[in-house]
Amino acid sequence: MTEGFLFQALVYLTAAIVCVPIAKRLGMGSVLGYLLAGIVIGPYALGFIGREGQNIMHFAEFGVVMMLFLIGLELEPSHFWGMRHRILGMGSAQIIITSLVLCAGMMLLDFNWKTALASSLALAMSSTAIVLQSLKEKGLGDTTAGKSSFAVLLFQDITVIPILALLPLLAVSTGHDTGGQGKAILEGLPGWLQTAAVLGAGGSVVLAGRFVVVPFLRVVARTHLRELLTAAALLIVISTAFLMQLVGLSPALGTFLAGVVLANSEFRHELESDIEPFKGLLLGLFFIAVGASINFKLLIDSPLQIISPVFAVITIKTIVLIGTGRLFKITFDQNLIFALGLSQVGEFAFVLFGFMHQLQIMPDHLTDIMMAVTAFSMTTTPLLLFISERFILHRFGTLEAEAKEADIIDVQHPVIIAGFGDFGSTIGRFLRANGIAATILDNDSDRVDLLRKMGFKVFYGDAARPDILKSAGADAARVLITAVSDPSTNYDLVKKIQKHYPHLTIMVRTKDRQDAYEILDMGVKDVYRESLDTSIRLGVDVLVKLGYRRYSATRAGQNFLKYDEAALLKLATHRHDEKSYIYNAREQIMLEEQLLANDREVNPTINDHAWESDLRKEQ
């Protein structure tokens, strides 16, 4: 196909743009959306992409490579050190127990021990890409489940290095004739030499990161060309990946290592923001490729051969993970998120199975099955998380509250606060200090637990769900405060409440001016921009530090606040007068200009003439 590239790009982008919003709308998360997109355009559904899906996969694996580079970058040694118990404890427990159980199981099924050991190690890996993406999307990154998942994934990612290094040793006795399809220069060398080469390559990445890359980046930075730095960032990732491939190692691991080495350099944030968009796109592509590469033919021809191992692997992994979680005293609901989240087989399994196939530890047919099992298991995770969130977790999370509910009359709880982060908790504390008990909705189960112990009336769950709102007493409450940091969540919430509980006074935290306009457009009057008061207070203090009288500065601040609120309301109604109804950058700039022009006219002393004797003197 000569139109190959453009056509393919068209297919992939369209599929992503159609499927991902639908999946998100259904509450399933973007990962599942991408996977579905892949299945839809794959060879077994619409057939837009055929076997070349495999090639796309190789290309898209670069998303994983970049993701690991970024993970490495975020991993400052101090951060790593702080998590060492979790990483080493949970990580090693998970991998060792999971692979032992899987290995024993496979040996019972008459696989030879080498194949069993190698493949169970691969199956013990989970997918960093899917788990981190899903947790981030659900805002669970900072919960116990999120942190534990990250620790385990990190340990797995690191373990892949020794596993890759040790695999050739397993292959020695079966003979290492690789069948002439190798690309790596190492093939054909004795096992111990390969192992040495692998370690040497890792070492060279560390050394180069320390002594070559940072001075090189300094030179590039001096040119002050933004795109050159982006190019340099890509060059680092790609060259590391290339080097790794040359010695037959996983590029992802090499870049992970490179990331860790660069984590302490001054270019860390620079590199992060340069690589981030590439990573996002390529990861999406990767998920699509996984979806497209699922061998439905194999699935249809011999469904049991695929489904039963998938079922077995996920069950075993989940059980082992739950055990690990218990061992580390994670609460039940967090543990469930943690265990289900990590229950799939990860993208490193593709790499490991490919390598095993090359080393002839694993026969062709088995490799095919294992690849299919891996891909298939990846699609189950978003589904499992979705199911547990919808049908298990909220039930568990609200159980305790409903038992309590009976003895608290809701008249005493006229206020509901949705979102109990820093912003919401300040409101809650203030109200409580003044004898008003508020009902709190939050979806961080650990925080919910803590707050309940402190005597707050807390409901676990998504505040935008009507049943949660009902059990929180929205019928009897008078005020609902949406204090979630994410504007779109607040937006959804306002819409729901306006529809189901029109009697409630809604008070909304908004991020900025634009966000405030949108909420005002919905007819909400009580809109609070989260940084407005604080920044004015800081400005007042600046005036004082420059020698202004504190009272004059305070009044100037009060006037400015009043004027700014008024301007917000005025501009909110006028901003649609312009021909283009759609909010765009130009409108934004125009509004800013109007504001600045008005600012200059605001004279904080305008109302204070009575206090000044100078004015009268002139008369």
Binding site: R550, Y551, S552, T554, A610, W611, E612, S613
Partner: protein
């Protein structure tokens, strides 16, 4: 005597009576736009440097009107003379001073049953007015005297069992020349110095409608 020089007041032991017992003076200063007030800047710049004199700038301390009542009470307890120093807005004091009086002079503390904590202390007003002394007469533009306008302060002081002295007033501020202003400032400094070293003569002071006049006689005696 030369008033411009800051006077160092010797700290003497506290006593009940006597001509030269150190008395601690608290100036409760209230001006919402002090930075624009030529007259009050001049008055405050002439304050004697003394441990016995405390300048308490209410608008600077409580720009949000959220007065710390306990702290204010403690301050009152450690002083003997309280001065309400303010511009004369609408025949009274700026809002924060009223707020201060309402909140700090509590029943059971400053007055009423058990309200003896301010007993025998002294209070008076230091004010600046745009109108001249002549404008504040029964036949003048403002129809009442300054003393009459200040009757709420006087009675509040009485209620709190304090001695109320006549006001020190700088009047006709719109037309004050720099020389006149400097003289007023020097007078204020002299007054504070005299009060802080415990210059007696309450009865003597009460005979005048304004402390300004007492100062004039006093200075005539001291500088022949």
């Amino acid at each position: 005597m030369k008033i411009d020089d800051p006077m160092i007041v010797p700290t003497l032991p506290h006593g009940d009576d006597g001509y030269f017992n150190t008395r601690r003076v608290l100036i409760l200063f209230a001006h919402p736009r002090f930075e624009k007030s030529r007259v009050n800047r001049a008055l405050l710049s002439a304050l004697p440097v003394s441990d016995a004199i405390t300048l308490h700038d209410l608008y600077e301390l409580y720009p949000d009107y959220n007065i710390d009542v306990e702290a204010e009470k403690q301050l009152l307890l450690t002083h003997d003379i309280v001065i309400w120093h303010h511009p004369f807005y609408m025949y009274s004091a700026p809002a924060i001073l009223k707020q201060w009086m309402d909140l700090v002079l509590e029943y059971g503390w400053a007055h009423g049953e058990g309200g003896d904590f301010l007993k025998n202390k002294t209070a008076f007003n230091v004010i600046t007015t745009g109108g001249t002394r002549e404008a504040y007469r029964s036949d003048g533009f403002n129809r009442f005297t300054i003393r009459e306008f200040l009757c709420t302060f006087e009675q509040t002081a009485r209620l709190c069992k304090m001695t109320y002295l006549p006001p020190f007033a700088v009047q006709g501020t719109y037309r004050l020349t720099n020389e006149e202003l400097a003289r007023h400032a020097a007078d204020y400094g002299f007054l504070l110095q005299q009060l802080s070293v415990g210059a007696n003569g309450r009865e003597e002071m009460e005979q005048f409608s304004f402390l300004n006049d007492w100062i004039a006689t006093r200075q005539r005696i001291q500088t022949p």
